[in-house]
Structure formats: structure tokens, C-alpha cells
């Protein structure tokens, strides 16, 4: 017994020593980060996405490093929600990545808190070109005179539908169709098809309601960061969807909640759904049903209210290397080879150089064709206020509670206004 205990002790001591040594190595081996002795600059680039995007980005980063041998780019990535938790934590510690993927929707949220680098100075210094962007994207990152981000890819809202189901119901989807047409179509599809609902209940999608409001000369957010609609407006919108949901034409709340993480349309529950056009790629992988993109219904037969929203690259206000960050963003947005590699992974490339470099195939070609078809209708996007993401989440959640039968319409509308107004700080 005693002997055994001794060997255990010796082994334990050896192991402990090894660990301590390893810890020391780790601590000294990978400290610091930027700027080492040989004049090389290291910048940190973070983005959200999964491994498919990682493979592409890795290639483009290597390309950049070849062109700029004095700059080393360290990348790290995580899933969307995790990305923002991590970003917020790091930024709170003053340690945000030098350059990172951002969304148009967050420019104000983080710009207001002085976390984003104003790239205008770098553009003026010639480190970043602002030329050659597609229509509607030239000034996309310009917020109150500051350039807080540069778009890498853009997309727009679309009407997704199952062409077979629509054909079977004898409905054609045409440009200039109206909301009445849309709801009538959903009803017909529901009647002609025993399994599919006519449409997903998208009353809770902020971006869709924004289009509807624009068709009526309003918008979800006003220029002075308030809600751009009244309680009556919202009651009318939600109420209209609810009446069709209650008639059994739209996917019931319980079913769409159960189908997650799939969307109702890719779970083969419904024959149509509204979302961003680039989701077609995802849906095509999730369902065997062929889906098409169609025009957004209108109010007056003409205006859809659509605009391009974009995925952006932003710099951190606290970066030590603004010049290198600008060079990196410049390369990632303009280099044709990067465009060819990335394809539509982050939306349709923002610059014409990258747009022309990639020849879309299959599902991508469908998206390209759709974007071409709506190009004439695109309007300028209005910046989202800080707190817009909180309002968006509340919009989604509170209507869902109505759809699940947990909340009455009046109570829900009141609750949304109170939550959204407090999030927008009004």
C-alpha cells in the first residue's frame, strides 16, 4: 500500500510539473498580437458564419496576405449569436477585433457608442476606394457623415413560393400584384392542397412590415429614431394576418415554432414565405421542393418599397492599424478574385468588379435573376436606430404570442409599443 502510494505521489508530482511548464509556455508563447519586430503588422479579423464560409474566407485572406506581405491577418469566427456575445464582451474590454463583419442594421447601435472606425479619413488618404459599388450601395455605410462600414454583399427581401403548389391552385404570381391578391392566393393554395398551408404567417417580420409601411409612405423607423407607425396601423397589419391565420390559410403558430430551425416553407409546411432572397441557398439544401422567388405584393400596384441591405466590414475605433484595416477592407470589397471565391456567400457582391467576376450557377443564378428584376424598384435604405434589434425581436416575439393564442391583439400592440419605445430610448 505504502509503495503504491509513493508511486502515485511521484507520478502526480511529475504531471503537475509538466502542467505548470505547459502553462508557462502558453502564457509566454502567445501573448501580444500586433506589430512584431520585423515591421510586420498583425490585424485581427472576426466574422460570423459556419465552416463553409470559413473555407472561402481563409482563401481570400491568404490572397490578401500575398498581396500585402507586411500584413498578417488572424481570423476567428463563430455562429451569429455567439459572435455578438463575444464581440460585446471584447469591445467592453476595449479589445474588439481590428476589423469585423457587421450588418447594416448595427451601424448606429455601435456607431453611437464610438466603437466603429470612421473610414472617411482612410478613403481620403487613398487606402480605401469608394468607387465601383453597385447602385444603391455607394453610400451604404455612411451614417450621419461618418463612414462606419463598407458593404461586401447585399440582398433584398423577396417572396418565396412553391411554383407547383401555386400552379395547381391556378394562381400566377405577377409583378404589381397586391396584398389582396396575395391573401387570395394563399387561400386558393390552401384549398387546392391538402397538406400545405397557403403561406407562412410572416406578420411578425419587421422587414416585411417595413416594406408595407413604405408602400404607404411611412417606414418602420423614422429619421429621428422613433417608430414610424401608429398603434392603429399595427393593429390593422397584424389583424389582417390574424384573420387569415384563423381561417386556417396560414401556418399556425405551434407548427411553425415546432418546425424550427427550419423555416415553415423549407419544412414543407407552407407554399410561400417572405424573407431575404439569399435564403434561397439555405432552403434549397433543406427541402427537396423547388422554390421560386417572386415579387413582393404591393398596395398600389406599383411600389414594393424594396431596398438593398448589406453585410459590411467595419473597423474598430480602437485599432492601432487603421491604414492596414482600410487596405484589408478595400481588397475584400474590390478584388475580383475575392469576388470569384466568395460568390454569393455574403449576399450579392457589392462592387461591380466582384459582381462581374462571379458567374452564378444554379440557385445563385435564380437569386441574381431576381435581383436584376427588382433593380428598378430599389429605394434608399434608412439607417436603423440603436435599439432596432431589440424592437425587431420584440416584434417577432409579441406577434408570435398572438399567433399562439397567448395574447390578445390589443394587449400585444400595447406591449410592443412600450417595449420598442423603451428600447429606442424615446
Amino acid at each position: 500500500m505504502g509503495a503504491r502510494r509513493w508511486t502515485v505521489r511521484a507520478r502526480g508530482a511529475r504531471a503537475a510539473a509538466a502542467v505548470v511548464a505547459a502553462l508557462g509556455l502558453l502564457a509566454t508563447g502567445c501573448g501580444g498580437g500586433s506589430g512584431s519586430g520585423d515591421g510586420k503588422v498583425t490585424i485581427r479579423y472576426s466574422w460570423w458564419g459556419a465552416k463553409d464560409r470559413a473555407e472561402l474566407i481563409q482563401k481570400t485572406v491568404r490572397l490578401f496576405e500575398k498581396e500585402h506581405p507586411n500584413i498578417k491577418v488572424k481570423t476567428d469566427f463563430s455562429e451569429y449569436t455567439d459572435f455578438w456575445s463575444k464581440f460585446n464582451t471584447q469591445a467592453a474590454g476595449g479589445n474588439a477585433p481590428d476589423v469585423f463583419q457587421n450588418s447594416y442594421a448595427f451601424l448606429r447601435k455601435y456607431g453611437d457608442k464610438n466603437l466603429l472606425l470612421d473610414l472617411n479619413g482612410q478613403a481620403d488618404a487613398g487606402n480605401l476606394s469608394l468607387k465601383g459599388f453597385r447602385d444603391g450601395l455607394e453610400k451604404a455605410g455612411d451614417i450621419d457623415g461618418k463612414l462606419l462600414g463598407v458593404p461586401v454583399g447585399a440582398n433584398t427581401f423577396a417572396f418565396f413560393y412553391n411554383p407547383d403548389a401555386y400552379q395547381k391552385a391556378g394562381v400566377t404570381v405577377e409583378e404589381g400584384w397586391t396584398w389582396d391578391d396575395f391573401f387570395a392566393a394563399a387561400k386558393k393554395v390552401r384549398k387546392s392542397d391538402g397538406t400545405l398551408y397557403g403561406a407562412s404567417d410572416n406578420a411578425n417580420v419587421m422587414y416585411l412590415y417595413d416594406l408595407y409601411l413604405r408602400q404607404n409612405g411611412k417606414a418602420f423607423f423614422t429619421k429621428d429614431n422613433k417608430l414610424g407607425f401608429t398603434k392603429d396601423d399595427l393593429t390593422e397589419w397584424w389583424g389582417r394576418w390574424q384573420s387569415h391565420a384563423k381561417a386556417g390559410e396560414l401556418v399556425p403558430g405551434k407548427k411553425s415554432e415546432q418546425a424550427k430551425p427550419k423555416a415553415s416553407i423549407s419544412a414543407d409546411l407552407s407554399a410561400s414565405e417572405f424573407t431575404w432572397d439569399n435564403f434561397l441557398v439555405r432552403f434549397a439544401a433543406e427541402t427537396k421542393t423547388t422554390l421560386d422567388l417572386g415579387p413582393i405584393p404591393t398596395t398600389d400596384g406599383k411600389r414594393t418599397g424594396q431596398y438593398l441591405s448589406s453585410l459590411m466590414l467595419s473597423g474598430s475605433a480602437r485599432t492601432q492599424h487603421p491604414k492596414e484595416v482600410a487596405q484589408f477592407i478595400d481588397f475584400m470589397t474590390h478584388d475580383p478574385e475575392v469576388g470569384r471565391i466568395m460568390g454569393y456567400n455574403r449576399g450579392i457582391p457589392a462592387t461591380t468588379a466582384q459582381y462581374d467576376a462571379y458567374k452564378p450557377q444554379g440557385v445563385d443564378a435564380k437569386i441574381a435573376a431576381y435581383e436584376k428584376s427588382v433593380r428598378a424598384e430599389l429605394e434608399p435604405i434608412t439607417p436603423h436606430p440603436a435599439g432596432a434589434d431589440v424592437a425587431e425581436a420584440a416584434f417577432l416575439r409579441i406577434y408570435t404570442q398572438v399567433a399562439l393564442g397567448q395574447s390578445s391583439m390589443g394587449k400585444a400592440v400595447d406591449q410592443f409599443f412600450s417595449e420598442a419605445e423603451s428600447a429606442l430610448g424615446s
Binding site: M1, A27, S46, W48, K51, A54, E55, D76, S85, A267
Partner: protein
Amino acid sequence: MSAASLTVGRRRVRSVIWHVGALAVLAVILYPVVWVIGGSFKPGDQIVGSLQLLPTDPITDNYRRLSDGIADVPISTFFTNSLVLAAGSVIGVLFSCSLAAYAFARIRFAGRDALFTLMISTLLLPFQVLIIPQYILFQKLDLINTYVPLLLGKYLAADAFFVFLMVQFMRGLPRELDEAARLDGCGHLRIYWNVVLPLCRPALITSAIFTFIWSWNDFIGPLLYLNEPDKYTVSLGLKLFIDQDSVADYGGMVAMSLVALLPVLLFFLAFQRYLVEGAATSGLKG
């Protein structure tokens, strides 16, 4: 004679009943695990919401794809990283928590009760609000993107769960042993090492197993502190298959989660025997 064989027979019947019963319970409990195994052989679009336990046409693509790695990092790197962290954590917890537990359970010193209460109270605060202050602390120490933030707490007995577990266990040990050792002229260090630790083996093994598993599955820590895919752990790697912008690779994810299960399963298998035998065989005579 016949009575004896009767009891042997009865015992055998009982044993069969026991095994049948236990296996039946297991069948229910392991159903989700079998589902995962089945899922790992299904194509990616037939996994979410699937009503089928097993694939109709099993494929091995999901496993084969794992060998491609993620973002130029081979899957084995994630496993190595996780193993280093888990092993480092186990050693740290065993060492630091048992020292603290010995003090709380075996030494009467001024301020003990207050410190014990303090230790218990550290269990009560949800980790979410400690994230930011701790992050800033490690950043000030220039330790971001190292494993130190993930390990340091383990070496400083920051996990009150294990201290408390060991305290509870040490309290169950006979005090006479200490007394005897003390009469032989042993100090606390010798008593701790030669008397208490060997008798606490079940608690130590339990702590080792839990630490290994929890470190293996920890996600938030590695997410916040590690900034290079080379340093990512398995738990981080598991979340790189899905993103709202991407075509989710559920097949790959499910396959990898099974592979990720193997090391912890092996660790458990290897150590579970000491869990329970420890108390009996390490004995009091030794």
C-alpha cells in the same frame, strides 16, 4: 441441500429479472443517443425534425467529411486542445480543491465559518454577470487568447462545487485516524496526504470525472477567450457547422458530436470502477 439450491435458483431468476428490467429502462433512456447515432448516418436534409430513428439508406459521408477539418484546422487539433484543457483542469481541481476542503473539514481555525459561508455564496451568483469583469481582468493581465483564463480558476479552487463535495466527504471520515496520525507526530500536510486523500478517493474520482466532462463541454469560456481557430476546443468546433447565413451541415455536426463523445466516454469508463470500489478497498487498515 435442496433449500440451498432453491435459493441459488431464486437468486438466478432474480438476477435475470434485474438485468431485463435494467435493460428495459436503458432502452428508454438511450433512445435519444441511438437517435443521434442513427442521425449521423443520414443525409443532412433528413435530420432536423426527422421522425425516423434509423436511416433508411445509411451513408458514411458525414464522418468522411470530418477529415477535411474546419477552416484549415484538422478536427484532431480541436481534440488535442480539449484534452489538454480537460486534463489540466482535472489536475488543478484535484490539487487545489482538496487542499481547501481539507482546511474546511479538518482544521479548526479562526474565521472558518465565515469563509465557508463565503465559499457557498460564490455558488449562488449566475456566471453571466461575472463574464465582463473577469474578461477585463484577464485582458489587463494580457492573457487573452491563452488557456490561462480557462485553467487558472481550476488551480485556485474557484469551483466551490468540488470544494464542497470534498468537504462533505471528508466529514464522513473517522476522526480517530487523524488522532492516531497526530500521536505519531504527523503534521497536517502528512495527514492530508497520507490519511485523508487516499480515503477520499471516491470523492476525488468523482471530481475528476465531473471536471473532465464539464471542461470538455464548456463552451462560453473558450468562446470568449480564444481568438484563433487553432486553439478552439471541440465544444467550439461543434458550433461551427451551423449559422443563420449558412447551409447548415447537420450531418457533420451530429457525426462530430458522437466522435466528441468518445473521449469523455472512455474517461468515464476508465475511472468509474474506482468510483465505488475506492471506498471499500482503500480500506482503513492500510
